[in-house]
């Protein structure tokens, strides 16, 4: 099967999308960019191809075994990937203990870490057995990190192998794990996953077909902040402005205005009926009011980024925030708290401030035309969406606002479509 790949190297996350010849999305992959664009691109691509093979598998299985069985297989596959990464992390932490921990603590630290990893693996097995596991981050660093910290607290000793020592080991080693290429692909793990999920005859045949399917890449286009790092010739690199415009057009063909709020930039884009960009504006070099700002706020409040929006939604009286300076985000927050403002009201005000900044860029790019598509990581945040809806209605009247659950992939989707168009031309 011929396929086309789009890779979007964002400042925070790297995304990949695989299309088939009929421009249907076969697979998507995402990873954190970890200041190593080459590796991030490779990981996202591997993920996208694994998910593409699942899509092929799904097509096969839907004819025979049914959707539920496939869900179990996917969970088993994710478990296998997780176990490989945990094993790598555990090995690196053990190396680090031998290298840098005082001999008196060495054995104790080894035992505690061994205990943490036994429990981590156990929790992963448990998660696999749970038919409705709780939501968690897509990224190994976040998912493993929060569990590790919780378990470290449980196993740490008041004197001796302390919590700080254990967490310090994690911090040192997670970066190394992220920066080593691991075999996480479909073909590497699907066999074990199938055994674990208890695949029967038709499923096994479908898996064999998906493993054996040839996915021939006929075109690749790269985009995003780190695109210059992609190992492609210049003709295969497109600006993220064009890719977001086209991606939004593909998701919602009626799109005329696109707002993308990513990790460190915000883009306001106008497109014509074919998805070709006619005007655009981006924030200046400062990342004020971008996704990263909300990330810092979440860190300051000791919360997960995904918890920030729901907290803001519980506000009844949003505070007026003037500064969206990312550097001063913490100072702004503490100042408001010291004035006695409620957390949810401050956070709601911060979301509004982010959107106000985006509104100014939209105005500069030529305003908002129907239909209006909101993309990027921040489009996943319900409080940001609520603030946007209010300000759009207030400034431009009723407009149809589109948000796709896959909006974070918009740039990569646009890039994949450019790859497809390029091959067709």
């Amino acid at each position: 099967m011929n396929c086309f790949v789009g890779v979007d190297l964002g400042s925070t996350t790297t995304k990949a999308v695989v299309l088939d010849e009929k421009s249907e999305v076969l697979g998507r992959g995402i990873t954190n960019s970890r200041s190593n664009y080459d590796l991030a691109a490779e990981v996202a691509r591997t993920e996208a191809f694994a998910s593409a093979r699942f899509r092929l598998l799904q097509r096969e299985v839907e004819r025979g075994a049914g959707g539920q069985a496939l869900g179990r297989l996917l969970a088993a596959f994710r478990l296998e990937q997780m176990l490989v990464q945990l094993a790598s992390l555990g090995a690196r932490i053990n190396d680090e203990i031998e290298r840098s921990i005082a001999p008196a603590l060495c054995r104790g630290a080894s035992e505690r870490v061994g205990e943490i990893f036994r429990r981590l693996a156990g929790e992963e097995e448990e998660r696999f057995r749970d038919p409705n596991p709780p939501e968690r981050s897509d990224f190994f660093r976040d998912a493993a990190g929060s569990a590790y910290a919780r378990l470290a607290e449980e196993v740490a000793q008041p004197s001796g192998v302390s919590f700080d020592l254990l967490v310090g080991l994690y911090d040192k080693c997670i970066v190394r794990v992220e920066n080593e290429p691991l075999e996480l692909g479909f073909r590497e793990h699907i066999g074990k996953a199938l055994a674990r999920a208890g695949g029967h005859g038709p499923m096994r045949a479908a898996v064999d077909a998906a493993v054996g399917a040839e996915l021939a890449v006929r075109g690749t286009v790269g985009t995003g902040y780190g695109r210059a790092r992609l190992p492609f010739p210049k003709e295969q690199i497109r600006s993220e402005i064009l890719c977001h415009g086209l991606g939004a057009h593909v998701l919602f063909p009626g799109t005329r205005t696109v707002l993308d709020i990513g990790g460190q930039d915000t883009k306001a884009i106008q497109v014509d009926p074919q998805g070709i960009v006619t005007a655009f504006q981006m924030n200046d070099r400062c990342a004020a009011g971008c996704g990263r700002y909300l990330g810092y706020i979440a860190d300051e409040m000791n919360m997960g980024l995904h918890e920030l929006g729901p907290l803001a939604l519980s506000s009844r009286r949003p505070v007026k925030i003037n500064s969206t300076c990312t550097v001063f985000a913490g100072a702004e927050l503490r100042e408001r708290l010291s004035l006695g403002e409620r957390r949810e009201d401050i956070v709601a005000g911060l979301h509004r401030a982010v959107i106000l900044r985006a509104m100014s860029l939209l105005a500069r790019s030529g305003g908002i035309e129907d239909e209006f598509t909101f993309t990027g990581g921040v489009a996943r945040n319900p409080a940001a969406v609520l603030a946007l809806e209010g300000l759009v209605a207030q400034n431009y009247g009723a407009k149809k606002i589109n948000i796709s659950p896959d909006s974070i992939y918009t740039g990569a989707l646009g890039a994949a479509h450019f790859a497809l168009r390029g091959a067709a031309a």
Binding site: Y225, R238, S239, E240, I241, L242, D272, Q274, I276, V277, T278, A279, F280, Q281, M282, D284, R285, R364, G366
Partner: protein, 428 residues
């Protein structure tokens, strides 16, 4: 490192500048009077007719920036209490004078005998000279030049400026230089100016050709250097413009494009009109971002910042004071927004541009105020897509190479995609 390819005219200009700075350094011994003045609406012919040497502080600032010296000067000025938000030309100049007034070429600049402000459109200029007056304790002449709010200079405004030149400036120059006003000498200077202006306009308008033999923004910065600074009306200035015109004509004959930091730009994919001054701290890197994408600038407003010749103005030796009044009033930033829009629309049309780009600098309100309105209006009237990028004149902290490159590449790809879409529409 490969040798940088440069035009002959650039070498010639470099020699002229070196010689000028050498004379300035020697001025305390030779007794040549020194007058500090600004580029917009400068009265070089008159200054020179009194045997005085002009110093252009903003040119020194931009040249310091091109030589990588501006950041230390700006830091020194900020340390002395000037806010981060003050125009970076001012801070660069103040920092330079605090560091011993060593000019961009490494020679010492003399103290001014007179500060001459012949353009009031920039409020910062006034404050700048107030600071220099405080520092040097020298006399100051301050001409009131009315803003062209209705888009044209009225006879009363013209007479008002001419009267100030006659009644205030000329007596001050006589006093400072110890020489009598010599109108014949002034007329000779003005006649040489007009000849240079004729040559410059021919050079700038050569960009109507495709391929364009010049880059009318980055390249034009060099072309306008002598005429906007110390050399307008001088023998060497006139010789420079004759040589420049020949050089460009030779390029036309050979069908060549301009020399850029990315080599000779013969294959020109995009023809642009640019509004706003360039960045000086990363001048060649900035230019390269255009040249590497095959973008050539065919017309710019910055190359009119010292005077707008391409719509017909020439210095007129038969009416020395009136023509100088016209010149003071007609510099680009003294024009109202509709006039600026009109000028840009004509550029887009006359030079058959594919795109219109605004480079907005943090330092300069005279340029920046209204630029978004200008962008929208020019887009609306010409149908040519515009783009907006931002940095600064001489403060490197505001120049983000990755951001600018990102936006420029996006813009060029957008022009390409739209071109493709139009072609597809035509085929359909």
């Amino acid at each position: 490192m490969a040798e940088v390819e440069k035009d002959r005219s650039m070498e010639l200009q470099k020699q002229m500048l070196a010689e000028h700075f050498r004379r300035l350094e020697a001025a305390p011994e030779t007794g040549e009077p020194v007058i500090y003045t600004f580029v917009p609406g400068n009265l070089t012919e008159l200054v020179r007719s009194f045997g005085a040497l002009p110093v252009l502080p903003e040119i020194n600032a931009l040249q310091s920036a091109m030589r990588g010296k501006s950041q230390a000067y700006i830091a020194a000025a900020e340390k002395a209490g000037h806010s981060e938000d003050v125009c970076s030309y001012v801070k660069c100049d103040i920092g330079m004078s605090m560091a011993g007034n060593i000019g961009p070429t490494g020679t010492r600049l003399p103290k001014p005998d007179l500060l001459l402000l012949s353009y009031t459109g920039c409020y910062t200029f006034m404050k700048w000279f107030e600071l220099l007056r405080e520092r040097y304790g020298c006399p100051t002449v301050f001409l009131q030049v009315p803003y062209q709010g209705d888009g044209r200079e009225t006879p009363a405004q013209r007479a008002y400026v001419a009267r100030q030149i006659r009644e205030t400036l000329i007596p001050a120059l006589e006093k400072v230089t110890g020489r009598r006003y010599d109108e014949e000498r002034l007329r000779e200077n003005l006649a040489r100016s007009a000849a240079s202006e004729e040559d410059l306009v021919a050079v700038l308008q050569s960009a109507r050709r495709a391929p364009s033999p010049i880059d009318a923004y980055f390249g034009a910065v060099y072309y306008v250097g002598p005429i906007f600074s110390a050399f307008r009306g001088t023998e060497e200035g006139a010789a420079y413009y004759r040589a420049l015109r020949r050089e460009v004509e030779e390029r036309i004959a050979r069908g060549e494009g301009p020399v850029t930091p990315a080599g000779r730009l013969d294959c020109q994919k995009y023809r642009l009109v640019v509004e706003g001054p360039p960045n000086w701290t990363h001048f060649r890197e900035f230019w390269r971002m255009f040249a590497e994408e095959g973008a050539v600038v065919v017309a710019s407003t910055y190359s009119k910042v010292g005077g707008t010749y391409d719509f017909g103005f020439r210095h007129d030796p038969s009416d020395p004071l009136g023509t100088m009044a016209d010149y003071c009033s007609g510099c680009y930033t003294n024009l109202n927004l509709p006039s600026r829009v009109e000028m840009l629309v004509r550029y887009v049309e006359d030079y058959r541009a594919d795109g219109f780009l605004v480079h907005s600098v943090k330092s300069c309100n005279s340029f920046s105020a209204g630029q978004l309105t200008i962008l929208r209006e020019v887009e609306r009237r010409t149908g040519v897509p515009g783009a907006f990028i931002e940095s600064d004149l001489v403060d490197a902290r505001y120049f983000s190479a990755a951001n600018l490159k990102n936006r420029l590449e996006s813009y060029f790809q957008m022009l390409e995609a739209r071109r493709g879409a139009v072609a597809a529409g035509v085929r359909a």
